[in-house]
């Protein structure tokens, strides 16, 4: 396990469209393990691979660990297959933009299809904080930051 170096706003890797994962190997498993370690140390609730300089379609999320038991989730090659038409505004922060917070409008729920570390396909609906976090991390894979999608408070 190793902490990876966080990339900050202004780093071009954060503006790239990340590439799909094609090989579900040890290399991927190590990346994900390092991403969790980096996220928990930051501390944060979500981290996308571009935020540690790897332009690949992977993000990790744990919306619970700050208040309850850890509930780590891994998303490889995620796709949003459906979303609520109704949106709500919430306050978000980003590990790549320290010390600032943003009002961002997000769907109330999203349906996501993604792969796990072995390439297995999953499909599930997420709502509430999980949906917000997933949308935020998903945006990172498309080079989108809350500086563009939201309004700074």
């Amino acid at each position: 396990m190793a902490l990876r170096e966080l990339r900050f706003e202004g780093d071009p890797v954060l503006l790239e469209t990340a590439s799909p994962v094609q090989q579900f190997d040890d290399h991927l498993a190590t990346l994900v393990r390092d991403m969790f370690e980096t996220m928990y140390a930051a501390p944060g609730r979500g981290l996308a691979a571009p935020q540690v300089g790897v332009s690949t379609r992977v993000f990790v999320v744990d919306t619970d660990w700050k208040d309850a038991d850890p509930a780590p989730m891994i998303f490889v090659n995620p796709e949003i297959t459906d979303r609520s038409k109704e949106e709500a505004v919430g306050t978000e922060a980003c590990l790549s933009i320290p010390g600032k917070s943003f009002d961002v409008s997000r769907p109330l729920w999203v349906e996501l299809r993604w792969q796990d570390l072995d390439g297995g396909v999953h499909h599930r609906r997420f709502e509430g904080v999980q949906a917000i976090c997933i949308c935020h991390e998903f945006d990172h894979l498309n080079g989108l930051l809350v500086t563009q999608t939201g309004t700074q408070q």
Binding site: K85, E86, V89, D103, S105, G150
Partner: protein, 173 residues
């Protein structure tokens, strides 16, 4: 039918581009009913879905506003301006999301709009007068644009500050 809460500027949801509607179903018809009820209750002559936090490209309007006029509710899904007149017109516009603020906006005097109705049929019609202004104002909402975006920055900032104050007062209840 349910009255929906109208978002007040400034709100990130009012600045988003709404998503095209892909199917006309009962949910959408209910939404249209709610939007008309909310618009008449306000009262207003037009309301776009993003104004009630729904990111659909749909709007309702009824510009027959004289007290004794027969209501003419219209529901426009995925509306598009397909033609604009060279002649322009100035109206003093207001907006349910920017209460009690009015300003003159210049727009094409006539527009032709195509849209889908609640039966899923494509319609096309030419609007003039207040109807033309209203339909353009509402279509702007679907692209995250407000009438104050046409004003000079100073005037726009003044209105935005008034709205921020209004929202703080509303939050205090």
């Amino acid at each position: 039918m349910t009255l929906r809460k109208i978002l007040i500027h400034p709100d990130p949801r009012l600045k988003k581009v709404a998503t095209p509607v892909t199917s006309v179903n009962d949910d959408l018809r209910r939404l249209a009913d709610d939007m008309l009820e909310t618009m008449y209750d306000a009262p207003g002559i037009g309301l776009a879905a993003p104004q009630i936090a729904v990111m659909d490209r749909m709007l309702v309007m009824d510009c027959a506003k004289e007290d004794d006029a027969t209501p003419e509710p219209m529901v426009l899904i995925n509306p598009e301006v397909v033609w604009t007149s060279d002649a322009r017109n100035v109206y003093e516009e207001g907006c349910l999301s920017i209460p009690e603020q009015y300003a003159e906006v210049e727009r094409p005097a006539e527009v032709e709009v195509s849209w889908m109705d609640l039966d899923g049929k494509t319609r096309r019609e030419r609007f003039d007068g207040l109807w033309a202004t209203c339909v353009q104002h509402e279509i702007d909402h679907l692209d995250g644009k407000l009438f104050i975006d046409y004003l000079r920055p100073l005037k726009r900032q003044m209105i935005t500050r008034k709205m921020q104050k209004l929202k703080r007062e509303m939050a205090r209840g």
